[in-house]
Symmetry: C2
Subunit: 215 residues, 2 copies
């Protein structure tokens, strides 16, 4: 997915939002205090024009975000392996978003609470209402980071191989192997109380953009 040919189009906010909303994880790039880049996977969630990240106030990643330095949040969805007749033209179909900006530490308990609800329901819609809600102490013990979607861009590749014209005469298979993320049957916790059933949003878990297949 390194850009090898100038054929990846740029897309607008609807596309950016749909990629951010489908993805379960993002990769956050920060500059370490020693000056080198560090990339860490984490959970994100979007609310309007704001992307939220959260974690323990003790986490190195989140602590590093309080410096006023720019960070980069990248989300990638892999859609297919593009198989060309020539190895040189192999590629991947994907949708990705890159967001760059200076993050803001969320101080307001109300915005922190709303952000935690957004993150919880981003991962499993409806889960916030099913959960034992967070306490004031837990809210205080969570660092929430907000990044505005001012500088966000999407890239999408979604087509077959583009071979050299002469190679179309080669008797070599070419095409796309679709790739998708799916869920399996939920595994209940060993200490579940008797009679507690698997909620519908867990039992039939999927996401917009995912195939309906379970594994």
């Amino acid at each position: 997915m390194v850009q090898r040919l100038p054929e990846r189009a740029e897309y607008g906010r609807d596309t950016i939002n749909s990629i951010l909303d489908e993805a379960l994880i993002c990769h956050v790039g920060i500059t370490s205090p020693d000056g080198y880049p560090v990339v860490i996977p984490t959970i994100h969630a979007r609310s309007g024009d704001t992307l939220y990240l959260h974690g323990s106030p003790a986490s190195r990643l989140l602590r590093s975000m309080k410096t006023g330095d720019e960070i980069c949040v990248t989300v990638t969805l892999l859609d297919g392996l593009v198989v060309a007749r020539s190895a040189f033209h192999n590629s991947m179909n994907y949708r990705s978003v890159v967001v760059i900006g200076v993050p803001r530490v969320v101080d307001s308990p109300a915005e922190k609470l709303a952000a935690l609800e957004t993150v919880t329901d981003h991962v499993i819609p409806g889960r916030w209402a099913q959960s034992r809600l967070v306490t004031d102490k837990e809210i205080k013990g969570t660092l929430v980071i907000a990044l505005e979607l001012n500088e966000a861009s999407a890239k999408v590749r979604g087509h077959g191989a583009v071979d050299d014209e002469a190679d179309y005469d080669e008797p070599i298979w070419s095409g796309v192997i679709p790739i998708a993320t799916v869920s399996g049957a939920p595994v209940s916790d060993d200490r579940l109380l008797p009679g507690v059933e698997t909620p519908e949003n867990i039992a039939t878990y999927t996401r917009p953009g995912w195939p309906k297949t379970r594994y």
Copy 2:
């Protein structure tokens, strides 16, 4: 996956290798000429103790790797959504690797050729031998970057929710929703020559660690 609890263990080279080898993409963090971090998804492949990245010499990402600055390559495999009784203790099961180092530009045509074979067969084992091989011109036109696996670490979370003791008395479902990557039926290129069949490694594409299910 921000580290909220000090429970994520550290793992050795076998684990690091298996994560790098299963993953189809990585996220590369570089420091831009303006000094901010940039995170870009790309394809990687491991050969022994070396991680290879490749792309066009014109790509901004790869050009930036020639500066002698450190880069960070992070690979993440998402294995499950950990659903706790309290929203605060939700988590994800995952396997991730972080590699940090100063990349080396591969100049030797022989090492470049071997690296391209490694990348091709990393994505689809056996594909190199099925492809129209790369030409000397294509090899010259590809920038290959090598990163030694000297400074590499893995993190793995692979268990159920850990709730506060009091919350185990709550009649709330808790457990894990397994998450996996799968392939779909290959889609042949429109311009395939008559009689060219889908090779077995494409028709039955899967990877170590993937469920056998297709979608």
